[in-house]
Symmetry: C2
Subunit: 372 residues, 2 copies
């Protein structure tokens, strides 16, 4: 647990638990549809580029002060209903000593791709002491954020495996699926190791005070449903199960996972993230009862003139009404060329549209959060 | 029309029309399930690498003798039921003067990405005289192939647009969708130009004698169904409509198009290609009556030990039985590291499995085709 006293936890936690974001995750009535954006803290913000100036991605992700600053930046601009811990999916891998780096303009690359049983030795368990900057940043963020929930962050097992196996980013993850088909023993051993590391990484974040977690299995949509069920789901389930007692909502997201939405939920998610290819009405049908949805405005639509954006936002809200709970978000991360002003307008539009529907007071304007 | 006399057309055409491949495309009874592989002529074959040695992709695609040789290579090894014209989706664009190149290890790149109305002037109509090497290669291939059908080849409008707009290969085609949302006028004008070029390019191939065509809209799966219907389908429909009178079956394929299968058919395809993410039984349900299916073995599965490959092939065949017609193929192109021996075994296995089911004579062994 973090060093925060029980008294502090009580006074901070109760209003956080009552936040629209956590209420939506729990499928409870909300005063307005909560909003956050994947990559809301990122390259679209000039202050992010300034904070990262001359600093590698991994350096930024391993300094508590930088994580804290970058995580808070979007909340000074937008009336978003949640913050998400600034991190990268390779952070826990680096923390256990894997030789993986983030190449600017490319993504995660590893000099020695994983190919054999011998490579498993490169994946030891993660201990809280391996990521002190995460504990420190979460602790300070929870204090700073007050009633705004902080979402924890980790990469999912297929996606982590794909970076290790391909050696870098890949369009279709062919070598990853080849290992999955060709050497199931090694595949399951690898994903088991990755699941242990991921579960430990998320437990560190939950212990330090995050109010929810999102597992980004971004590229899991590369496998067919039957293969996902047999080769990926057991490992994601173990990660979610490791957090079951914590009471924090668990969000599960991947791009191009239209065929997998039901299984993403079955893995143990409370909230299923949906990309822009499947409408939320259809996604609700696929996911089934008992889970909330998150999504799914196409990030590319944010580059269009405002009337187009407005129409798309309203469509997402209309389709999202059939979900038992809806957290408004994009269908993937904010694109670097996005105008932050558009993100602010989208946030306010979602609030205005849904607050009027549900007859409650409007959320606090971003100015109120600028005091953070 | 090609320079072949009517008498020759008659003597060559009748047995081709009766080939298992064309029968399956027309949803007629077949003596065995026909097989071909996307990228069967390609980097997995040492003789392909030899034929391309020191030659750029575009040089190879614009020489009739090289196109002919490379197209025939897989038929000397495998008992596949069709050949596909060796080409690249940028060939017609280059033929009308677009400054687009194929960078080894990267893919199509254009120095000046398409962004404005002014760029439309870079896309003039394609005339048969722009691609004499295609006419010449098809004419010679049809003669060489005898009773084996030759499939024509072109890229689809979304995919061509994405290379022009992104300036090169892209993982998620964000700028392409941004233009689609942000400037529908330019978008439709661009796809209209591309559709005209593509239709003309395919008409050249049909006139020269191809027995079927495949439109590879490889990246169309990047858009949601409603956007596909409004922004892409009208242009693909126009391409297919331009071939409607020719009587050649039209195949329509894209990767990750599970949400779009019905629309790929509606666009005017006789055969819908299915990637590995959706089983053929489910694909048949989505596509509906009146169209055949093609697919859908995961190309990555071919890198696994033979028992795994065998199991996957049998699964595809079992699921494909519900389709009104089934052309066995992969769910995407042959991977460069694939053992050609495995492709030969898969071909023979498909034939053996389905010939026994349908009680006909087995297809001719590849040795018979080595005489080509």
């Amino acid at each position: 647990m973090s060093g925060v006293s029980c008294e502090m936890i009580t006074c901070v936690t109760a209003p956080v638990q009552d936040s629209p974001f956590l209420r939506a995750c729990r499928r409870e009535p909300v005063p307005w549809t909560p909003v956050w954006f994947m990559r809301q803290a990122g390259r679209s913000l000039p202050e992010y580029r300034a904070a990262r100036d001359g600093m590698t991605m991994l350096a930024a992700c391993t300094r508590a002060d930088v994580i804290t600053e970058i995580t808070l930046q979007p909340l000074r601009r937008f009336a978003v209903d949640a913050a998400i811990l600034f991190s990268d999916i390779v952070v826990p891998l680096r923390a256990v000593g894997v030789d993986i780096d983030i190449k600017p303009g490319v993504g995660p690359v590893t000099a020695e791709p994983f190919r054999s049983e011998a490579d498993l030795a490169r994946l030891r368990d993660l201990e809280p002491g391996d990521v002190p900057y995460v504990t420190e940043a979460v602790t300070s963020l929870v204090r700073e954020l007050g009633t705004t929930p902080l979402i924890g962050f980790a990469g999912g097992p297929f996606t982590l495996a794909s970076y290790l196996i391909e050696g870098g980013p890949s369009k279709s993850h062919d070598r990853t699926r080849a290992l999955m088909y060709g050497n199931p023993g090694l595949w399951h051993a690898l994903l088991d190791r990755l699941a242990s590391i991921t579960a430990a990484f998320l437990r560190v974040q939950v212990s330090a005070g995050v109010s929810a977690v999102q597992l980004f299995d971004s590229w899991a949509g590369a496998v067919a449903p039957a293969d996902y069920r047999a080769a990926v789901l057991p490992h994601s389930s173990r990660i979610f199960a490791a957090l079951a007692g914590s009471g924090v909502p668990r969000i599960h997201f991947g791009v191009g996972t239209g065929e997998l939405l039901q299984l993403l939920g079955e893995a143990g998610a409370d909230v299923v993230g949906v990309d822009w290819r499947v409408g939320l009405d259809e996604a609700a049908r696929r996911v089934g009862a008992g889970r909330a949805l998150q999504g799914n405005l196409d990030p590319a639509a944010l580059l269009a003139p405002w009337p187009v954006v407005e129409e798309q936002v309203k469509r997402v809200l209309a389709q999202g009404r059939v979900a038992e709970g809806h957290v408004f978000n994009l269908g993937h991360g904010v694109l670097p060329e996005t105008d932050p002003g558009v993100l602010a307008r989208v946030t306010d539009l979602v609030h205005a549209e849904t607050v009027s529907v549900r007859g409650s007071d409007p959320p606090e304007p971003p100015d109120g959060q600028k005091a953070l």
